[in-house]
Amino acid sequence: MATTRTFRIWRGDARGGGFEQFEIQVDEGMVVLDVLHRIQAQQANDLALRWNCKAGKCGSCSMEINGKPKLACMTRMNSFAESETITVQPLKTFPVMKDLVTDVSWNYAQNKRIPKFQPRPRDPDGAYRMYQEDVDRVQEFRKCIECYLCQDVCHVLRDRHGREQNTFVGPRFLIRLASLEMHPLDTADRIPAVRDEFGSGMCNITKCCTEVCPEHIHITDNGIIPLKERVVDRFYDPIAMLMRKIFG
């Protein structure tokens, strides 16, 4: 059943802008991204937005829909009341380029700061052996599609200048660090950097990153907190530190 819905979309660029209202026909089964495309095709050819796979696998169409960081392709229209006006905004944490498109290059810069994977030597027969039980954890983190919704919602980056001041690398890269740190083959010691360069202490584990993750990765419980615990092992646990002193 087709209905007419009202969309309130922020349009503009780094110099300014405002909300523009659209009345648009919506058919059964549509997601917000479909509606935005229809608006683009029929009413605003130059409405800027990012998208790619349309199936929640690439993490391109991140935006804020009714105030919540979401993937537009995974937000079904039937999750809203018919009379509801739907507000669509660009991500808050990153500088706006145009309309719903933001400059997320800061994230790529953070990724580059993380030292690369350093595997141990292969087994004598040329294979690497690691076991499913041990890589389950790492595989969960590697489900990340880099939509940066967690980076957007994290208040340290969003409201506390963590991005501008480079004090915190953000949830996405803490779980990337976790995926390397917990990798059975990786030999690099990343713990000092996790605390000192990437700011694990800045996270106050309020778990908004986990709440918005479209891949349902337990970012905080399985990634960040275990990293924090490894930092404690190294820097804050007097007994563990003493034991290392004595036994090396």
């Binding site: 089964g29 997601v31 683009q40 790619n52 690439c58 380029m97 290059s105 690369k116 690497y128 890589v135």
Partner: protein, 615 residues
Amino acid sequence: MLNVSEIQTIDHDVLVVGAGGAGLRAAIECSARKLSTGVVSKSLLGKAHTVMAEGGMAAAMGNVDQRDNWKVHFRDTMRGGKFLNDWRMAELHAKHAPARVHELEEWGAVFDRTKEGLISQRNFGGHRYPRLAHVGDRTGLELIRTLQDHGVHSGISFHMECTGLEILKDGDRVAGLLGYWRETGRFVIFRCKAVILATGGGGKAWPVTSNSWEYTGDGTAMAYNAGAELMDLEFTQFHPTGMVWPLSVRGILVTEGVRGDGGVLKNNKGERFMFNYISERFAPETAATVEEADRWLKGDKTARRPPELLTRDEVARAITAEVKAGRGSPHGGVFLDIASRLPADVIKKKLPSMYHQFIELAEVDITKEPMEVGPTLHYFMGGIKVDADSQMSSVPGLFGAGECTAGMHGANRLGGNSLSDLVVFGKLAGEGAANYIEKLGTPPKVPDAHVTSAVRAATDILNRESGANPYLLHEKLQETMAKGVGIVRVKEELEQAIAEIEAHKKEAETLKAPGASQYNPGWHEALAMRSLLVTSEAVARCALMREESRGAHTRLDHPGESKEWVNFNCVVTRGPDGAMRVEKRPRPPGPAGLVAIANAKIEDLESGAVGADAK
């Protein structure tokens, strides 16, 4: 007046166009050879269509079934490709794939494991043994993320959200590429000694496709415009299982892994119809009864594989036939049932993103209900004609890798062979470009005149007072292709489609995009239409020329494979007058050793009666 010297220029030794698996692998290789390497991508890094690949990457490592080796993989590939594959490419692919998988692991990829701690391998359509290294059903993401994270530490320059428009040449040789930044709409000239195209296919010309907006055949069209030969464009693969409902997700892929893990296809009578569509070629290796198929799934090595795992062209045609006969599902597909085959928690563990995709996009719980699926345009087997070993096209300095090239997959690609294709030939293209540059004498110069005319053609779209809407033209083209160049084709419809494409080309000259050049999707769409029209025309013209049914190309008026046509390729070039030319070109015969392996009985291959001396 346009002043070329005011356009931004960036210098590299090699420019890679496309940041999917092939592009990234090629860039890593160039960079390892100490070349200044740039990568241009239309999207952000890590978003390329490779992330959509689900099932896995085929490599005959023999971790799960030790009988597997490159010869069996090669034989499967040739048979799947209906013997139209480039012999050398299929050979290189089967031989190199295991090393490329191990290399990914060394760069941080975490594949699913066997009990012994090795890389696990799964069954897939057309593969004799469990062969696909995989990570659940998100193998493509793993591949691209691994290459991306490795690549950022290799000194590669990434130029994101930048679209290539034209290959620039100095005489015959490649001299650079003209592109534009999507954000600002400003033009940029990349001056380089070699260009590697890794731009994928042109699936966006069809309305029902698993391809994203990026799939507009840019590389294929740029190569064609630069004078390179294209080949085998008539072979467009329809993946048998795409989502059919709701409309907005129509075409999105349902991984073949569902069938590999035991999923079965049923019509609206609840019948497992694939048993009625087993062709002669595959009958000796396909289960004859439901009972035998189930034994195979349980790992019985004496049983033969279920017919749901026949090659993609066979399954797609069977589904189309069932729907035509009125035995389809409510939304015009058939049912794919995994719910009655596996316990819910196993489904969620083995097919997490499929579970996710259906529950969130279609509100269907695949652990309880069957999925509705139908064919969706998925892959271009054809594309730029390249040399197997160097991956160089017929234009010196212009290379290709991955889906935008032709030859590797012949008339039909096996599932799982594309991810391995990307890394095998990505690496070879990188080597090819590096070797070419080593031998290159004086560096090429970018000609101003070409830049001026290309920029003007692009900006005309913005500057016109009024003109056709690019989005509407795209819809018209999709209608043309769906109607005339679909899964089954006939002469009259193809001729009609070509006539329509000619009309679309005329209209494309009058496109108008309102607004400024800064991040303007209307303008991007208009520019992409120019590429899409080239690839669409090439597909239609090749399809008209090939008078037989082979692999993914089915001609109702020429049923069955012809003995003659297996010896020919359709080669496309741009004539001096700018018109498209298609030529029926004889193929060189395959090396005797490879021919023997491809045609061998599986028992003879395994016993060593055939191919024992092949290394």
